[in-house]
């Protein structure tokens, strides 16, 4: 308990907020912005934006294969960013660390390339019922083409994957398990390490959708022993249009390339084209160079604070807010897993999420409403959507209070 206080005291959230100019604004003329839509996308610290600026004002050139000074410089910076991403995920080798546009792009790469090589008619891809559409639809597309099937692992009322059901569903037809580490709608932290170990007993690889874990948890792909791990830059304080896909070398070597183009080839003739080594094999075309380098800056930024301390701060907000919300009459929190990240989805009586969200917005409080790209999960709970507040490293208890004030106003208007 004393430790928790210590962490809390040493975490100077006011200082950190100064790194995020966007937070300083008032909306609709008079309401200081309360940004609680971090699950959708986080804001960017100056350190990240200034890295992009510096890159464009001093170092930009196309990378790899350029002989000239700027190109060498840009290449070095880009590859240093890749190394930072490797460290961030504790990947064994940088060649297992691929730059992508984001989580969706990374999962599509795996669904396409792994799917095309290893999926056959009648095979099964297991995903959980709480997956984001980005971890469902790519599998549906490849499965439909091949005649395989995407099968959902059920979840319980608390919003936790039913581990017994999962164990029973693993079998010889299953060629892939794809689950998120943290649910964007429920906040559930899934026991992916155990799930991976179990899948591996059956020789089944596992892809982890880490879009929501990257900004909150320490990722260790070696400890997890996952086969693929996909994250998005823009949710972890990095720029839009960036992401990382970790893949075990044995898979990345075995599966065919995804996109074709420059960079990813060894030699091209009309008779025969051979592909480049990792990671280039999967990085066709001019990449988002400035974005990749700025993602490196976001990783530096997170490390400079410490993910543990960020998590402690966010957990405090989670507990504080959950407790206060539960005192509101008719409050129903969707997602009550024992192990949760700082995401709270809720419904108040039969007030429609759109109504609640509209009023909160009018009060300057940015939350997300709707199905959060998890329609099967909404169907599971038989709800049209939720109101979702998701915290970032810069949020405060005072902001949580503003949310509660807003919720009371909503109740007053619609209750």
């Amino acid at each position: 308990m004393e430790d928790a206080v210590l962490i809390h005291e040493s975490y100077d959230v006011d200082r950190l907020r100064e790194d995020f100019p966007v937070l300083e604004q008032t909306v609709y003329g008079k309401y200081p912005l309360v940004y609680l839509d971090n699950g959708a996308s986080s804001q960017k610290p100056k350190q990240v934006v200034e890295t992009m600026e510096k890159y464009y004002y001093h170092h930009h050139a196309n990378i790899h294969r350029g002989v000239h000074y700027l190109s060498q410089e840009a290449t070095t910076q880009y590859e240093v960013a890749r190394d930072k991403a490797r460290d961030f995920m504790n990947a064994p080798h940088s060649r297992e660390v691929l730059f992508t546009k984001g989580t969706t792009d990374g999962i599509n790469l795996v669904a396409y390339s792994y799917g095309r090589k290893y999926l056959q008619e009648g095979d099964v891809v297991l995903v959980s019922t709480m997956e984001h559409h980005s971890n469902i639809v790519p599998w549906q597309i490849v499965c439909e083409e091949i005649g395989a099937k995407v099968v959902p692992i059920p979840i319980n009322e608390a919003g936790e994957i039913d581990q017994e059901a999962y164990a029973s569903m693993l079998g010889p037809k299953v060629r892939m398990v794809a689950v998120n580490h943290v649910s964007n709608t429920l906040g559930t932290i899934n026991p992916v390490k155990d799930m991976i170990a179990l899948a591996h007993q059956h020789g089944i690889p596992v892809l982890v959708d880490g879009a929501q874990s990257a900004p909150h948890l320490t990722i260790d792909v070696q400890d997890l022993d996952c086969d693929f791990y996909a994250i998005s830059g823009h949710k972890m304080y990095g720029p839009t249009g960036t992401g990382i896909l970790y893949g075990k070398e044995k898979w990345l070597d075995a599966i065919p390339p995804y996109q074709g183009g420059g960079e990813m080839i060894q030699t091209v003739t009309f008779e025969k084209t051979t592909y480049n080594e990792l990671p280039h094999k999967f990085e066709a075309g001019t990449p988002n160079i400035a974005g990749g380098i700025a993602l490196g800056a976001a990783i530096d930024y997170l490390n400079s604070i410490g993910l543990d301390r960020i998590a402690a701060h966010e957990n405090d907000l989670l507990e504080y807010t959950t407790k206060a919300l539960l005192e509101v009459e008719g409050m129903r929190i969707i997602g009550t897993a024992a192990n949760k990240a700082s995401v709270i989805s809720f419904l108040i009586g039969d007030i429609h999420p759109y109504d609640a969200g509209t009023i909160l917005d009018k009060m300057g409080i940015a939350v997300r409403t709707g199905h959060h790209c998890t329609e099967p999960l909404m169907n599971r709970f038989e709800i049209p959507g939720t109101v979702r507040a998701s915290f970032g490293l810069y949020n405060t208890r005072a902001e949580a209070d503003r949310l509660l004030e807003g919720v009371h106003k909503v109740v007053q208007l619609f209750g």
Binding site: Y28, H352, P353, Y354, D355, G357, T358, K362, G370, L413
Partner: protein
């Protein structure tokens, strides 16, 4: 009243509100008062899909006029639907088809008619006009 007269009336009505809260209270009121849509019209075919809220729209013809009935699962959307009804319901098809709905902008609720809002309203308005055009074609 013509479509424009209805719009003018609404603009005046809203000009008395001091802040957004009063305005929304009024919209919510209108939403709650909206004439209920008959159960038989709450069907898939009448559903105008928005990602955030859903709208059901039923249309009929009486003489040269278009008669609408509508509903939404969200109260604010319903309030806006009610305003649309006041303006467009039971108006000559031709007038509906060519109507310019400036009142939403003028009462400061433009954002609700943004195509990215996904509340079903934009699609509803589009559908209302399509009905009007279709009826005109039929009666021509």
């Amino acid at each position: 009243m013509t479509i424009d007269q209805q719009q003018q009336e609404i603009i005046e009505e809203f000009s008395f509100f001091e802040d957004w809260m009063e305005k929304y209270e009024h919209i919510i009121e209108l939403g709650k008062e909206l004439e209920p849509l008959a159960e038989e019209h709450h069907i898939e075919d009448n559903l105008v899909k928005g990602c955030q809220s859903r709208v059901w729209l039923h249309a009929d013809q009486k003489d040269n006029h278009v008669v609408f009935a509508a509903d939404s699962d969200a109260v604010i959307t319903k309030g806006l639907v009610a305003l649309m009804m006041r303006v467009l319901n039971d108006q000559p098809a031709e007038e509906v088809a060519k109507s310019d709905l400036y009142f939403i902008d003028q009462i400061g609720l433009k954002e609700h008619l943004s195509p990215t809002r996904s509340n079903g309203l934009v699609s509803m308005v589009k559908k209302m006009k399509l009905y009007a055009v279709a009826y005109m074609a039929k009666s021509a």
